[in-house]
């Protein structure tokens, strides 16, 4: 007697996710880490001319900015080619010919991408911590050398100032929000790829949404706040505000690097909104994919 078919199987989803991850490994997507490492080393060497506050500021900005760019690019490029590649290789038909619901297939694919993004951001964070620690040790040694003959309490003040300028707890939520934003984009790109005709189309639309999403807040403010615009511009602004995600909300890292702390409530709300976006885009993607003629 054949085993009873389970409608929703985490094991099947996990199998698809790990296969997707393996596929991405084989595509050598992690080579970008070399560029990231070179960026860190290059910027560290270049920054010797600046004072220590500027050095740490620039190093953090370059590192976290690069993390943001790389995770976004990875999420868009890797997700955009998943469905077209599976269709081209006929893998999709083999999978869906088995009793695998389309939702599980999409969820497995997204999970694979999210795992890949998680590994990437962890590796980049590790490189960032090493670079920042190295720079901190160098500056501490320089401060010790330059403070010869200084009273011990003043020397301790100087050393504490250097340490405070390097590692702050706020960096952790900042990095998590970068990941949340990348996850949102992976889900959004998956949704676009369910109706897109090609990978290029998916990438182009995703990039366009990225920039529109950063301006969404401006459109929303104009729509809700301005009474002078005509009906057509108002409809256009309303569509932008309602259809596109507000990506500016996920740019916490700029302010964190600037030395501002982030409250846990604010971080949790922003992360929850990102999670909600990811789930909704996945559901909409399923909506399109469920009735798609393959």
């Amino acid at each position: 007697m054949p085993p009873k078919h389970i409608f929703f199987s985490p094991a099947r989803i996990w199998a698809i996710a790990t296969n997707t991850l393996l596929e991405l490994f084989r595509l050598k997507v992690f080579y970008f880490l070399l560029i990231f490492a070179l960026l860190l080393i290059g910027s560290s060497a270049f920054m010797i001319e600046f004072n220590f506050q500027e050095q740490f500021q620039l190093l953090k900005d370059v590192s976290l900015g690069s993390m943001s760019i790389f995770t976004w690019l990875l999420s868009v490029l890797a997700t955009a080619m998943l469905l077209p590649k599976d269709i081209e290789d006929r893998t999709l038909y083999t999978i869906l010919a088995k009793p695998v619901p389309r939702f599980e297939y999409l969820l497995g694919k997204l999970l694979g991408i999210l795992l890949m993004l998680l590994i990437s951001i962890l590796l980049m964070s590790a490189l960032f911590v090493i670079a920042l620690y190295g720079r901190q040790q160098y500056v501490l040694a320089e401060t010790m050398r330059g403070s010869a003959g200084m009273p011990p309490d003043q020397l301790q003040d100087n050393l504490r100032e250097v340490r405070n300028a390097t590692f702050t707890y706020s960096l952790i939520p900042g990095i998590i929000i970068i990941y949340v934003k990348a996850a949102l984009f992976a889900s959004l790109t998956l949704f676009i790829s369910t109706f897109a005709s090609s990978s290029i189309f998916t990438i182009m639309v995703s990039v366009a949404i990225y920039f529109i999403g950063h301006l969404q807040g401006v459109a929303r403010d104009y729509w809700l706040g301005s009474a002078t615009t005509g009906p057509l511009p108002r409809i256009f602004l309303a569509l932008v505000a309602l259809l596109f995600p507000d990506l500016q909300l996920f740019n916490l890292v700029d302010d964190i690097v600037a030395g501002n702390s982030i409250s846990f409530i604010l971080f949790a709300k922003t992360a929850a909104l990102g999670g909600l976006y990811t789930i909704i885009y996945l559901l909409v993607a399923y909506f399109v994919f469920a009735t798609k003629e393959l």
Binding site: G65, D157, R220, L242, D254, D255, G259, L266, T270, L273
Partner: protein, 305 residues
């Protein structure tokens, strides 16, 4: 007779509405609009919280587009504001090595507009203008007239002051910029009352260094008409303990005691080594009057001959 070809010619039955492509897409757009309507109040509220937490009312100025170029503005809006600001900061650093002060000010205005919550940018920009550019203005060999060199120097002091004031508007919750403004008012503009106010504001922050309250009291002691208030403030610090009884504090107290005719029983005595070198009695030179000493700010002796 049965003909397969003929069967294909038969009109197909109309597809149900839910299977038609346009209907499917319309349904997706409707879901997205519905989701947008649900998240709209959440996003508005969250956006307000973000602004309250980070920007304190500061927003990206749209006229900035003309200054940093379309690509830079797009990058700034695209979430790479910090990277664009850093790029401009590095450019300003290069211009510093070329002593192009005008271009530096232009770049500082852009950097601070992009990152209004970054204290370091405000502090360093002001320092470059008020300390470096002003010094360069005085050494300008192309300007033979001293009056004009002094005028340019003063203008750079005011530029530095303006940068710090704008920085404080954007960052009222950090002591650093009040401290920097106090330094500038004291050292460059000789506005001792203004410096007293700024150091006093810095001293109110729990994380500010202990010297802020001392600096505030020192500055008040230079302002004619505030001698009693300054004396009370300095005595309050003096009574905290030995760690606060620094040479400058004791010296200012001594001068104020003379000026205010404090009764001998209430006066403090300070050892000779605590008297600043330029105020120590020298053989053959008559000591300056208490007024001269009281209202002449202590200056660090120059290392140059």
């Amino acid at each position: 007779m049965y003909s397969p070809q003929k069967n294909f010619d038969l009109p197909l039955p109309p597809r149900p509405l839910r299977e038609r492509a346009w209907f499917r897409y319309a349904r997706v757009v409707a879901i997205l609009l519905l989701f947008g309507a649900i998240r709209l109040p959440i996003e508005v509220r969250l956006n307000q919280e973000h602004r309250a937490a980070f920007f304190h009312g500061a927003k990206l100025n749209l006229s900035l587009r003309e200054q940093i170029g379309q690509l830079g503005f797009l990058a700034a809006l695209g979430g790479f504001r910090a990277l664009v600001a850093d790029g401009l900061w590095i450019q300003a650093h290069i211009d510093w090595t070329r002593t192009e002060w005008g271009k530096m000010l232009f770049l500082f205005n852009n950097v601070t507009a992009l990152q209004p919550r970054n204290i370091m940018f405000w502090e360093m920009s002001s320092w470059h203008m008020a300390y470096n550019a002003s010094a360069a203005a005085m050494q300008d060999t192309t300007q033979p007239r001293l009056a004009l060199r002094l005028k340019h120097q003063h203008e750079y002091f005011l530029v530095g002051e303006g940068l710090l004031e704008r920085g404080i508007e954007n960052n009222p919750d950090h002591y650093n910029l009040y401290d920097a403004l106090g330094d500038l008012l004291r050292d460059k503009l000789q506005d001792h009352y203004g410096a007293y106010v700024q150091f006093g504001k810095a001293a109110k922050f729990p994380d500010s260094p202990a010297y802020e309250k001392r600096f505030s009291a020192y500055e008040l002691s230079y302002v004619p008409g505030y001698e009693r208030q300054a004396y009370d403030e300095l005595m309050r610090i003096y009574r905290i303990g030995d760690q606060e009884r620094l040479p400058t504090l004791c010296w200012r107290l001594k001068l104020l005691q003379e000026q205010l005719n404090i009764p001998a029983s209430q006066r403090i005595t300070i050892p000779d080594y605590m008297i600043p070198p330029q105020y120590r009695p020298k053989p053959g030179i008559s000591p300056p009057s208490v007024q001269d000493e009281l209202y002449t700010p202590y200056t660090v002796p120059s290392s140059k001959p």
